[in-house]
Symmetry: C2
Subunit: 347 residues, 2 copies
């Protein structure tokens, strides 16, 4: 029996430092309504969707910094975010959206939540594990900073997959009588990751080991930034952006294939503040690693596909049957060591 | 300073059940000479290069089975293999080549070795960790068996990277005086994997964590086989082969990028015994995930590229600086659990 799901990525064009929160929110609601008109059941929004990508700026004022964060994780009640969740509930569409989270202990996290329209509540939360960039700003004033390590703590919630209720037909529910199908079996298995996480095989694999069927990944990815690392490849801005899009799609396609799952990725794209270039390339990929749909431009745009979650089975039961083929006795270094060790010197 | 290396994949066309070992060996030597004429310093041959891909056959006779194995791992001395190593030494070309290994305790392994021409000896050995297929043959007589799990034990040597001596210029050697550069630093860091291993991120990552610069992977990959798994995708043989080549290149490109290394892959390709189709697609990929060179056909063919190992630095020092970005505290399940666990049921 087919287990179809209509999914969408809500790519957003630039959100500037000067953009008003209500304007941005209004764009997001318009995107949600567009997705609804296509029949979408689930819409993914980008990383830090409600604001500009502020980690590129060194922000000295705590007051200013606070304006980019939500001070609790109860987004559906906060004034700057509530209308989006209200609209999702009204339209009956699940959403996943990224935001900067200020935890109760004052720590910051780069977070995304999954909101179930039928439940009317956030049912899952993920905090970005792989924070790129640096803690301290670059000395070179021409550099574009990437201060995620300054403003955020690495995510501490792991990579927890979850089944989303009420999205596909014919699934037995909790409280089903004895002898009936196990409750929830058949509900889609989802996992969230954020931006740079998609380049790290470890998160994908841990989701794969929970049978993930759809990985959701919002992102803000620079198309071009001056090279301050002394590395040797020099590219034009156009070449650099093309390569960044290539790398984005390569990791979405490759990791979807190697974990037999669909993926949805949603960019914040275009020139923020008229000069900070972010790539587009929002796309939906299949468990066989193919791109099923992708953004045409770098503005606000819905990328949509209807998929059959049963397409994950071929990979999960054959080439990537982890139970039969993984060899954890040979994998020790992956969790025992963080960085690079010198290989044996032969000869 | 550039650290250039001229590398080649020696793709081989089909080797049949009826092919005579000296004929196959002669083809390999011809390929080596072709690579030499291009200036290659290192040539990779396929998995089980000296024989047909025998695990597709159920072989009841131990005597017949033994003809596909080498009874020790001292290939450079065995009569059916020695001439290849002699030629490599004579031409001054390092080679890596796959073969079926019969260990001293009688166990079988799907193995590859790295032979240093200057040393005149095998300096590294790898045993395939991710054996695909089944232990028992399929009941359906139309099925193409894949009996690697029957004939081989999973590799037990881990993923050990190694530096190869004498391949690049200007590297200090063992015994260098005090104050000189550390011996071996600057020698290329190599890692071997075999066929199906390339689809598994764990091996790549462990090599990456040793600073690998070139991953070598020989393979025999079916282009089309009847689907006996009851999974739902039905393809024509042409579509299936196209998809198999796509998956091959996707994992070579994606994993090269995510571990900032070059890769070289060498197929045994074409129709073995006139009916078992193997894909081509032998290629060399860059640390940025691009294909630098690839096979044009499915016969005996050299794929060649001159690369600069310094191109690995950009990835290793920036996006994929493992020391700064990996978060092993969040990776536990990768080594704690083999298969798939049920995710939390929400709602």
């Amino acid at each position: 029996m087919a287990r179809t799901l209509k999914i969408a990525a809500a790519q957003m064009g630039p959100v500037h430092l000067t953009s008003k929160r209500p304007e941005t929110l209004s764009r997001m609601i318009t995107l949600l309504q567009s997705a609804s008109s296509l029949g979408a059941q689930l819409v993914l929004f980008p990383e830090t969707a409600f604001t500009t990508f502020f980690p590129r700026h060194l922000i000295a004022s705590q007051e200013q910094l606070d304006t980019y964060f939500e001070h609790n994780d109860n987004l559906p009640c906060a004034p700057n975010t509530k209308p989006l969740f209200d609209e999702a509930k009204k339209l009956g569409i699940d959403i996943s959206v990224g935001f900067a989270e200020r935890a109760e202990d004052g720590k910051g996290y780069n977070t995304s939540v999954y909101f179930s329209a039928r439940k009317g509540e956030v049912i899952a939360k993920y905090r970005k594990v792989h924070l790129p960039g640096t803690k301290e700003p670059f000395e070179n004033p021409d550099a574009v900073n990437q201060l995620e390590k300054r403003y955020f703590e690495p995510g501490n919630l792991g990579f927890k997959a979850f089944r989303t209720p009420d999205l596909v037909e014919g699934v037995a529910k909790k409280g089903a009588g004895e002898g009936e199908a196990a409750p929830g079996k058949g509900d889609p298995v989802m996992g969230m990751m954020i931006c740079n996480d998609r380049r790290w095989v470890e998160g994908w694999r841990i989701y794969g080991m929970q049978g993930v069927e759809v990985v959701l990944c919002g992102y803000n990815t620079a198309g071009f930034a001056p090279d301050l690392w002394g590395t040797r490849k020099v590219m034009t801005p156009e070449e650099a952006e093309k390569d960044a899009v290539f790398h984005h799609k390569l990791v979405m396609q490759g990791n979807s294939y190697m974990n037999s799952c669909f993926s949805v990725s949603a960019a914040k794209a275009g020139l923020e503040d008229g000069k900070y270039d972010l790539i587009g390339g929002s796309c939906i990929t299949s468990p066989e690693g193919h791109v099923l749909a992708e953004a045409k431009g770098k503005g606000d745009e819905i990328v949509f596909a209807e998929v059959d979650l049963e397409d994950c089975r071929q990979g999960k039961e054959k080439t990537f049957d982890f139970d039969r083929h993984r060899r954890i006795d040979q994998y020790g270094p992956i969790t025992e060591q963080t960085g690079v060790v010198e290989p044996e010197l032969l000869g």
